[in-house]
Amino acid sequence: MSWSEQGTELVDAIFGRRADPVQDLSDQADTVARTCHAMALRFHQGGTLIVFGNGGASTDAQHVAVEFVHPVIVGKRALPSLSLTADVATLTGVANRVGLSEVFAHQLRFISDPADIALGISADGECENVLRGLRYAHERGLLTVALTGGHGGRIARDPSIDHVIVARSDDPRVVKEVHVTAYHILWELVHVFFEHPGVLDEEVTA
């Protein structure tokens, strides 16, 4: 078989692998909606969105932060967000002194406020440092949100996490793509709640 035949067949297979996990995200629309509402409440109270992850997810953390701070849609307001992975000095410093599993918990301990939101991203749901960061955040009173993949991993089952969205695929690239769609949706739909300020009163419940 020539490369052009083999290559184009593979392209079809690669693109085909994306459809079901995206449909699965669509099926989690209720979780997405409740997560957006909880995040909007925290922003309304003055909270900051703090994002973290390893490897490819570290770039997602930075993507989320820029999304909220510098909205691409004209007229949407800037919301406070920061990525823990942008601070390479602190990351490598803590990793070198204490170990990689403590990096995010350390940063959260000294940077976060109880009104904030902690968003941990882990493609397999097993990242120890993400889990420790989210557990610490929960103890401190932050809203905790996780984007995981595969079968959800330890992070998806941890009781310290308030909202979990799982990208159900064994391919880490597909998981990442579903995560990108998920955080784009979270960003855009958080703003829908700001258009209805009445629903941001604490006593309003669905």
Binding site: W3, S4, Q6, G7, T8, L10, V11, I14, F15, R18, V22, Q23, L25, S26, Q28, A29, D30, V32, A33, R34, H37, F43, H44, Q45, G46, T48, G55, G56, T59, D60, Q62, V66, V72, I73, R77, P80, I111, D113, A115, R173, V174, K176, E177, V180, T181, H184, I185, E188, L189, V192, F193, F194, H196, P197, G198, V199, D201, V204, T205, A206
Partner: protein
């Protein structure tokens, strides 16, 4: 990190325009709207990926073969972009250099990785040269330049592609909308345009494009 400006801003607007802020406590209605929007956006991205596949199936395979040939001859990948696309370009570079599932690591760098270099070039010369100057410093004949932009109009990408072409590099552009000014350049060997009016959907499909290129490159390396 506590900031009260968001809440204060809403209150200030309410006192100015009370008629616009009649208490809307119908949380269920808003949740319904948000759920429906999630379903709609999921549908949009799946349809957009199908469009990209239809347009670029063969060119993705051709591009991957050229990238595989460049790596096989000792080439390196230099990836670049601004804002959200800078995170995608860093992700693309890291995917080649440090794949999470056991594939062979290949040499790759993100040109936004080093904030000292980016701010030095921006401050001393201008933001338009941040990628072109790094390509002039680093790039060699046979290397690969990959630039991502949703608009296709970023001046620093346009200059980078021209610099890469002068060096004899393989050039790959990933853009959105109608391709923007990147579509007018003759310095891009392989241009992939994601046709959507949404910046978000464009970025999501662009991620698929570079993920597909990575997977196809490994397949092409094994096929060689």
């Amino acid at each position: 990190m506590r900031r009260d400006s968001a809440a204060e801003g809403t209150e200030a607007m309410e006192s100015l325009y009370p008629f616009l802020y009649a208490r809307d406590t119908d949380l269920n209605a808003v949740l319904d709207q948000v759920r429906q929007s999630t379903v709609d956006k999921s549908r949009e991205i799946t349809a957009l990926r199908a469009t990209v596949l239809d347009r670029d199936r063969s060119r993705l395979a051709e591009c991957a073969e050229a990238v595989a040939a460049a790596f096989a001859a000792g080439g390196r990948l230099l990836a670049f972009g601004n804002g959200g696309s800078s995170t995608d370009s860093q992700d693309m570079a890291s995917l080649f250099l440090s794949p999470s599932s056991g594939e062979r690591p290949l040499p790759a760098f993100g040109l936004t990785n080093d904030i000292a270099v980016v701010t030095a070039l921006s401050n001393d010369i201008g933001f338009d040269v941040v990628f072109a100057r790094q390509i002039e410093a680093w790039g060699q004949r046979g290397d690969i330049a990959a630039g991502l932009s949703t608009s296709g109009n970023s001046a620093n990408l346009l200059r980078a592609f021209d610099a890469a072409r002068e060096r004899g590099m393989v050039t790959i552009g990933i853009s959105g909308y109608d391709g923007g000014k990147m579509a007018e350049l003759d310095s891009i060997d392989y241009l992939f345009v994601v046709p959507s009016p949404s910046v978000h959907r464009i970025q999501e499909a662009q991620t698929t494009v570079y993920h597909a290129l990575w997977e196809l490159t490994h397949a092409a390396l094994s096929w060689r």
